[in-house]
């Protein structure tokens, strides 16, 4: 190691210590940042959950409407009779 290197190592050794107050400020900032991040994550999840709920409701209502519209009661009775299912309910009584 040259003399210049030695001199520079000596002169530039880390001697400074950050104050406690400064570190405390960083901890507080980190805490705040964490809270903000969590809040943002919750907000980001909300539209996704809402979209899923809307999709489920829409799909089920479309299915129900389609069943009501395309399969009238008479037709379904007939198809049950053709399959050999026994008649039930009011007619028996």
């Amino acid at each position: 190691m040259s003399e210049l290197d030695q001199l520079l190592y000596e002169a530039l050794s880390p001697t400074e210590t950050p104050s406690e107050e400064l570190n405390r400020k960083i901890y507080l900032r980190a805490k705040k940042e964490q809270t903000m991040k969590n809040k943002n994550t919750d907000l980001r999840r909300f539209p996704l959950a809402a979209a899923i709920a809307v999709a489920v409701i829409a799909a089920s209502s479309v299915t129900v409407y389609a069943a009501w519209h395309f399969c009238p009661r008479r037709r379904s009775r007939r198809s049950l009779a053709m399959r050999g299912c026994p008649r039930r309910s009011r007619e028996r009584m």
């Binding site: 003399e3 001697t15 950050p18 900032r29 980190a30």
Partner: protein, 177 residues
């Protein structure tokens, strides 16, 4: 990085990072700002490297970038009110005084202050390289990683910086060594 990890990280590396900020800015107030801003900037990042050394490299890199950004502002402030920077060793020289005579201690401090002043006059590109090499004890490869520049560039900057420093210090070398 959670709260406990951050506290541990600052306990382990805070001193080195803060010293780096002090030597970069040459002002305690500006170093405080830079140190805090660098940490905040890194904490704002969504993904941090898992290894502690990786986080330290990231903070050092961010510090250099922020320092470059703020340099104009710092320069203006410095023009208005110049603040001299005295390292803690010079201010709290009690330990050194016990082993040296007061005269030797003062001379030693003067010498180190002069060397620091010479480092401070280095061009903006060379200063972080010199500080990382001598203060942090990093290799040229590691410095290249921190500053996102090729290793060859680091080597050439270090060589040029040494040449400049050697010229500046040559007048005083014979007296000291």
């Amino acid at each position: 990085m959670d709260q406990r990890e951050l506290e541990q990280f600052i306990r382990q590396h805070g001193r080195e990072i803060y010293s780096f900020c002090c030597y970069l800015t040459k002002s305690r107030q500006e170093a405080d700002d830079l140190y805090q801003d660098a940490f905040v900037k890194v904490l704002e990042m969504s993904k941090l490297p898992e290894a502690y050394e990786g986080t330290k490299n990231l903070i050092l890199g961010v510090t250099v970038r922020l320092w470059k950004d703020k340099k104009r502002k710092f320069a203006r402030r410095r023009r208005i009110a110049e603040e001299r920077f005295y390292p803690q060793a010079a201010r709290e020289g009690a330990d050194t005084e016990a082993t040296q005579t007061p005269e030797a201690f003062v001379l030693e401090q003067e010498k180190l202050t002069f060397v620091r002043a010479c480092v401070d006059t280095l061009p903006e590109k060379m200063k972080p390289v010199v500080l990382l090499y001598y203060m942090e004890g990093r290799t040229t490869g590691e410095i290249a990683e921190v500053l996102h520049i090729p290793q060859g560039t680091v080597k050439s900057r270090l060589f040029q910086a040494k040449k400049l420093l050697s010229e500046k210090l040559s007048r005083y070398k014979e007296e000291w060594i």
